[in-house]
C-alpha cells in the first residue's frame, strides 16, 4: 500500500501549484484530478488584485493585498507568503523556459477582446502590454472566419481606453481552413504551431504592417508552453505582438497548464486522472485516506496530508442543490450561507458591489486548514486552497489565479 506525504485533490491552478511546491520541498506527492480544471476557461494570467471593495482601482497589486478584509484569503495567507508565492511561480516559469513577467508593485493593464483594459499582475510574454502605452501605431489583427474575435469591437473600445490620439488599423489574415466548420482560436493556434502556417501568416503580416508597431492578436500564439511562435512572428515583423483575452477556450491557460504538468512529471509527482474523489476516511480528527469511484471500482488513497483544490461552484468542489444550501462533498466541511435572495446576489449583475454568493466558501486558518462554525480547526491534516475558499469575488476584484497561486503555495508550505 502506497502512502504519500501529500495527496492533492484537484488539477486546476491551485492544485498544480500545491503539488509542485510540495514536491519541490521533497514530499512524495500524488495528484488526483478529474477533468482539466478551469485553466483553459480562464486566461492563464495571474491577477493578484485590481479593485478594492468599492470597485476603485488599487494603485498596485501589493497595496491591494494589504488592504483586503479580514475574511479574505490574502489576509490569512499574509503579504509575505503572497510575495513568496509570486517568487516561486516566476522561478518555476523560468526553469520551465516559459518565463512570466510582472511583479507585485506594478499593475499591468492588458487589452481584452472587448477592447477594454483589465488590471492584472503576472502575464506570459505574449501578453506584455508595456509598448501599448507608448506606441502610436496599433494594428489589430483578425482572422477571416474566426469565431469569438471581433477586431472592430477591439478598435472601437480601445479608442476610448487608450485614447484617440493613436493610429488604429485592422489587418485581416487568411488561413487555409475550409469545410464550413466554425474556426476557433485553437484552430489558428495549431495552424501557427506548424512551420507552414507560421510562414503563411508572417508573409501576410509583413505585407500589411509596418515595423516598430504594436500588433494586437487573438490568443493564438501556439499551443505549447514556449515562445517559439511569438519570437518568430515578432522577429519577422519587427513589431511587438500582444495577445488579447477572449472567451474560452484560453490558449494562454492551456499553455500554463501544460507547463505545470510537464514540471510535475519532472518532479516525480504521481498524477492520476479521472479520479473522482467521493469521500474521505477520518480517524481521530485526522484524514487517513480518500476514496475515488473509478469506472471499475472504488480505490483508496492514503497520505499524511491532503490538499483540497477541487474548485468552487463552477469547478464542482462546492455543490449547491437548493437556494442557500452549499456543501463541500468530500470532507463535509460546513459552509455558512444566507438563504434570503437579497443577501445571496445583487439586484444588478454589474455594479460597484461584490456578489455575495461569489464570496461563499470554506473558512480556513492561516495554514489553510478548514474551520468549523466555532472557528476551530476541523481536520488538522487537510488544507483547502483556491476557489474552495471563502471571502473573495475574483471576477469583481480581479484576483483570479492570484488566490489560487498564493493559497496553493501556502498549503504546500504547511504540509
Amino acid at each position: 500500500m502506497r502512502k504519500d506525504d501529500v495527496i492533492v485533490i484537484g488539477g486546476g491552478l491551485s492544485g498544480l501549484i500545491a503539488a509542485a511546491a510540495s514536491a519541490k520541498r521533497g514530499k512524495k506527492v500524488t495528484l488526483l484530478s478529474f477533468g482539466m480544471g478551469t485553466m483553459t476557461i480562464g486566461s492563464g494570467i495571474i491577477d493578484i488584485l485590481g479593485y478594492d471593495n468599492n470597485a476603485a482601482i488599487v494603485s498596485n497589486p501589493e497595496s491591494g493585498v494589504k488592504m483586503v478584509d479580514e475574511d479574505h484569503p490574502y489576509h490569512k495567507i499574509g503579504l509575505q507568503a503572497v510575495k513568496n508565492s509570486v517568487e516561486f511561480f516566476l522561478n518555476l516559469c523560468r526553469e520551465e523556459m516559459y518565463p512570466y513577467i510582472g511583479n507585485l508593485n506594478e499593475m499591468k493593464w492588458i487589452p481584452t477582446a472587448a477592447g477594454t483594459l483589465k488590471p492584472t499582475c503576472l502575464v506570459p510574454k505574449t501578453i506584455d502590454p508595456d509598448q501599448l502605452k507608448v506606441s502610436d501605431q496599433i494594428y489589430i489583427v483578425g482572422f477571416h472566419g474566426l469565431k469569438d474575435y471581433y477586431a472592430e469591437l477591439v478598435v472601437k473600445n480601445l479608442k476610448v481606453s487608450l485614447g484617440m490620439d493613436r493610429k488604429y488599423e485592422i489587418v485581416m489574415i487568411d488561413h487555409n481552413f475550409s469545410g464550413g466548420r466554425d474556426v476557433t482560436v485553437l484552430d489558428i493556434a495549431r495552424w501557427l504551431d506548424s512551420e507552414d502556417g507560421r510562414a503563411k501568416c508572417i508573409q501576410q503580416l509583413k505585407n500589411k504592417i509596418k515595423p516598430d508597431s504594436v500588433v494586437l492578436m487573438p490568443p493564438i500564439l501556439g499551443t505549447t508552453p514556449d515562445y517559439l511562435v511569438l519570437d518568430e512572428l515578432a522577429k519577422a515583423t519587427g513589431c511587438q505582438l500582444i495577445e488579447t483575452m477572449t472567451v474560452p477556450p484560453s490558449l494562454s491557460g492551456l499553455r500554463l497548464r501544460s507547463m505545470l504538468i510537464n514540471c510535475l512529471k519532472k518532479l516525480g509527482v504521481r498524477m492520476i486522472e479521472k479520479a473522482n474523489v467521493i469521500k474521505s476516511i477520518l480517524e481521530e480528527g485526522k484524514c487517513i485516506a480518500v476514496v475515488t469511484d473509478g469506472i471499475d471500482r472504488e480505490r483508496t488513497y492514503y497520505a499524511q496530508n491532503f490538499i483540497l483544490a477541487t474548485g468552487g461552484i463552477y469547478g464542482g468542489g462546492l455543490i449547491s442543490s437548493a437556494l442557500g444550501e452549499i456543501k463541500e462533498p468530500i470532507f463535509n466541511i460546513p459552509i455558512q450561507v444566507s438563504v434570503a435572495q437579497e443577501n445571496w446576489s445583487n439586484l444588478k449583475l454589474f455594479s460597484n458591489k461584490k456578489q455575495p454568493f461569489a464570496k461563499i466558501g470554506v473558512d480556513v486558518d492561516n495554514k489553510m486548514r478548514p474551520l468549523d462554525m466555532q472557528g476551530e480547526v476541523l481536520i488538522e491534516n487537510v488544507f483547502v486552497v483556491g476557489r474552495n475558499l471563502q471571502g473573495y469575488d475574483f471576477c469583481f476584484e480581479k484576483s483570479g489565479n492570484g488566490v489560487a497561486l498564493a493559497s496553493g503555495y501556502q498549503a504546500a508550505m504547511s504540509v
Binding site: 470597485a55 477594454t116 483594459l117 476610448v160 477572449t246 444550501e325 446576489s345 455594479s351 454568493f357
Partner: protein, 538 residues
C-alpha cells in the same frame, strides 16, 4: 405632421391583432408600443393555446371562445403553434366530484376530452406521477408569443399597417369631446411628437388604466402578478394540466426544447412589477412536484413574471376571482368620442378580441369591409425552392427553425447574406441555433434598438447558457456591421446580460449557479465589462 386614421396603443397580442385586422380591412392604422413589441404580458405567460378545458366549468363562455379560437390559430398561425395536445390529470388530492362537472362542461361547449387509462398516460408521458387517478386528452397546444406577435406585424405591414416601438403615449388630445390625436414621447431619445388621428384604441393590457387616465377616464384594470419557470428540458411531450378548479402552478407547457411551469397569482403593485422572486419559484416547484415527482432534478433556465390585466366593473374582484372575459369600453359613454379600450381576455382569444374591437371601430368609421383574419394565414407559405436553398447555407437543422422564426421575406434576406459571405452562417447562439446572418438581419430591420430586441425576434440568448457566449459574439457582430443603435457597446453588453440576470437571480442554485459563475468569469473576470464603467484611461 404624422397622422393615421386609427392609433392602436399597445404592442401585445391584442394590439397587433387589431393592427392586422384594421390593415386588412383597408384602414390606415398606426400601432404605438412603449418599449419593444411583446414587452408586456403576451410574452410573460406560459405560451398555452387553451383548449378551453381550464375555463369550462367556471366560465363556459370563455371556454367556448377558447376552443373556437384554438382551431383558428392552428390554421392561420401554424409557424407559432406546436400541436402538442394536452392532458388533464386528476391526482388523489383533487376533488373527484369536480371531474364529473368538468367532463359535462367540456361536452356542453364542444371541447373534445377523451379519457384514457392512467397506464396509457404513463406510456405516453413516462415522467408523469404514478399517483394519477384519471387522465383526459384535450386539444391544448403550445404557442410562441414572441413569434405570433411579430408574424401579425409582418402580415399587417403587407396591408400597409404601421408600427412604432419605444413610443410612449403621454397625452390623448381632444377637441369638442372628440379625439384628435396623441402626443408621444420616444423612450430612447425623449423626443415628443403629436400624431393626429380620428380614433384611439387602447389595447394596453395592464397599462390600460393608465392610458385611460390620460383622457381623465377611469378604467379599473388590476394587474395581477404571475411568475413562471422555464426548464431546460421537455419534461413532457404534452401540456399537463391538473384536473381541478384553476389554481397556482398547475400547468406545464413544453415549447421546443424547454418546458414552462406556471403560474402564481398575487396582486401587482404596478403593471411592470415583473421581477420574479425565489419565494414564488419555490411555491411553483412545490406544486409542480405533485405532477412530476422528479421536478427538482431538472435544470431550470430562468424565472419570469408578467401581470395579467384583470378587468372588473366591480373594483373589489381580485386574482383568479376576476373574470377572464374581455370587454370593449366605448369611452363615448364617458364623454369622449373616438376613444375605446379593450380590457381583460387572454392570449388564446386575442384574434377574436381584435375582431370585435375592429368591428366596433369600423362601425364608427363607416367601413364595411368584413373581417378575414380567421381565414388568411399569418405568414405566406415559404417556397420549397427558398427552403432548399436555405439548407445549403444554414448549419445543421437551423434552416427550418429560422424559416419559422423569420418568415419568407426575412429568410430570403438572410440566405442572401450567407450566399454573399459564407462566414455569415456561423452560429452566434449555439443553444438556439441562431446564425450571424440572422442576428445581422434582425439588428438592421429598423425595429431593434438593443440586443434584447434582437433576442426576442431570434431567440438568441434564450437557451441553456443564457448569453454566456452569444453576448460577446452579438455585440461584436453588430459592431462589425457598424451598428450599435447609437449606444456605447459596453452598454449593449450590460443591457443584455442584465436582462438575463433578472431571470437567473431567483433560481441561483445547482447548474444555474455554475453557469452564472462562467458568465461572470468571462464578462467580469476576463473582459472586465464591469471595470469598463469608467473607461479608465491608462
Amino acid at each position: 405632421m404624422e397622422k393615421a386614421t386609427v392609433i392602436v396603443i399597445g404592442g401585445g397580442a391584442t394590439g397587433v391583432g387589431i393592427l392586422r385586422d384594421l390593415a386588412m380591412r383597408g384602414v390606415d392604422v398606426l400601432l404605438l408600443e412603449q418599449r419593444d413589441m411583446v414587452h408586456g404580458t403576451s410574452s410573460r405567460y406560459h405560451g398555452l393555446l387553451h383548449s378551453g378545458g381550464r375555463y369550462a366549468v367556471k366560465d363556459a363562455e370563455a371556454g367556448k371562445e377558447c376552443i373556437e379560437e384554438n382551431k383558428i390559430l392552428r390554421k392561420i398561425g401554424k409557424h407559432c403553434v406546436e400541436a402538442t395536445e394536452g392532458f388533464f390529470v386528476r391526482l388523489p388530492e383533487d376533488d373527484e366530484a369536480f371531474e364529473g362537472k368538468w367532463v359535462e362542461a367540456c361536452q356542453k361547449i364542444g371541447i373534445p376530452a377523451l379519457q384514457i387509462s392512467p397506464n396509457e398516460a404513463w406510456q405516453l408521458e413516462p415522467n408523469l406521477t404514478h399517483r394519477a387517478k384519471s387522465v383526459y386528452r384535450v386539444p391544448d397546444a403550445a404557442i410562441d408569443g414572441f413569434r405570433m406577435v411579430w408574424q401579425n406585424v409582418a402580415s399587417a405591414k403587407r396591408y400597409g399597417g404601421r408600427l412604432r416601438t419605444y413610443t410612449e403615449v403621454i397625452s390623448i388630445e381632444q377637441s369638442n369631446n372628440h379625439v384628435v390625436g396623441v402626443i408621444t414621447r420616444n423612450f430612447i431619445t425623449g423626443e415628443e411628437e403629436f400624431i393626429a388621428c380620428d380614433f384611439v384604441v387602447s389595447a394596453a393590457g395592464s397599462w390600460a388604466g393608465e392610458i385611460a387616465r390620460l383622457a381623465g377616464i377611469d378604467v379599473h384594470v388590476q394587474p395581477d402578478r404571475g411568475t413562471l419557470i422555464a426548464f431546460n428540458h421537455r419534461i413532457s411531450s404534452r401540456i399537463i394540466n391538473r384536473l381541478r378548479p384553476a389554481a397556482d402552478g398547475d400547468i406545464f407547457v413544453p415549447h421546443g426544447s424547454i418546458t414552462i411551469l406556471g403560474t402564481t397569482s398575487s396582486e401587482a403593485k404596478q403593471p411592470d412589477d415583473t421581477v420574479p422572486l425565489t419565494a414564488e419559484v419555490e411555491e411553483l416547484l412545490k406544486i409542480g412536484e405533485a405532477t412530476f415527482e422528479n421536478l427538482r432534478d431538472y435544470r431550470m433556465l430562468r424565472a419570469f413574471s408578467g401581470t395579467r390585466p384583470l378587468y372588473s366593473a366591480d373594483p373589489t374582484a381580485k386574482g383568479r376571482g376576476a373574470s377572464r372575459n374581455f370587454v370593449i369600453l366605448d369611452h363615448a359613454k364617458d364623454g369622449l368620442n373616438g376613444f375605446a379600450s379593450i380590457v381583460g381576455g387572454k392570449f388564446t382569444t386575442y384574434r377574436l378580441m381584435a375582431e370585435k374591437m375592429t368591428d366596433f371601430i369600423c362601425k364608427s368609421l363607416k367601413v364595411t369591409a368584413p373581417c378575414r383574419t380567421a381565414e388568411e394565414p399569418l405568414v405566406e407559405e415559404i417556397s420549397p425552392q427558398l427552403l432548399a436553398k436555405a439548407r445549403l447555407y444554414f448549419p445543421a437543422y437551423s434552416s427550418d427553425l429560422a424559416a419559422s422564426r423569420l418568415g419568407g421575406a426575412a429568410l430570403e434576406h438572410v440566405v442572401k447574406r450567407m450566399e454573399e459571405n459564407s462566414q455569415k452562417s456561423q452560429l452566434v447562439c449555439e443553444c438556439e441555433n441562431v446564425t450571424l446572418a440572422e442576428v445581422e438581419e434582425v439588428a438592421h430591420d429598423g425595429t431593434s434598438f438593443n440586443l434584447s430586441d434582437v433576442r426576442r425576434k431570434t431567440r438568441m440568448g434564450m437557451g441553456t447558457c443564457q448569453g454566456a457566449f452569444c453576448t460577446y459574439r452579438s455585440v461584436g457582430a453588430i459592431e462589425a456591421t457598424g451598428l450599435t443603435f447609437g449606444k456605447d457597446n459596453i452598454d449593449l453588453f450590460k443591457e443584455f446580460l442584465q436582462a438575463r440576470w433578472r431571470g437567473i437571480r431567483p433560481i441561483m442554485w445547482g447548474n444555474v449557479l455554475r453557469e452564472i459563475e462562467l458568465t461572470r468569469g468571462i464578462y467580469d473576470g476576463t473582459l472586465n465589462i464591469n471595470g469598463a464603467i469608467d473607461h479608465e484611461k491608462r
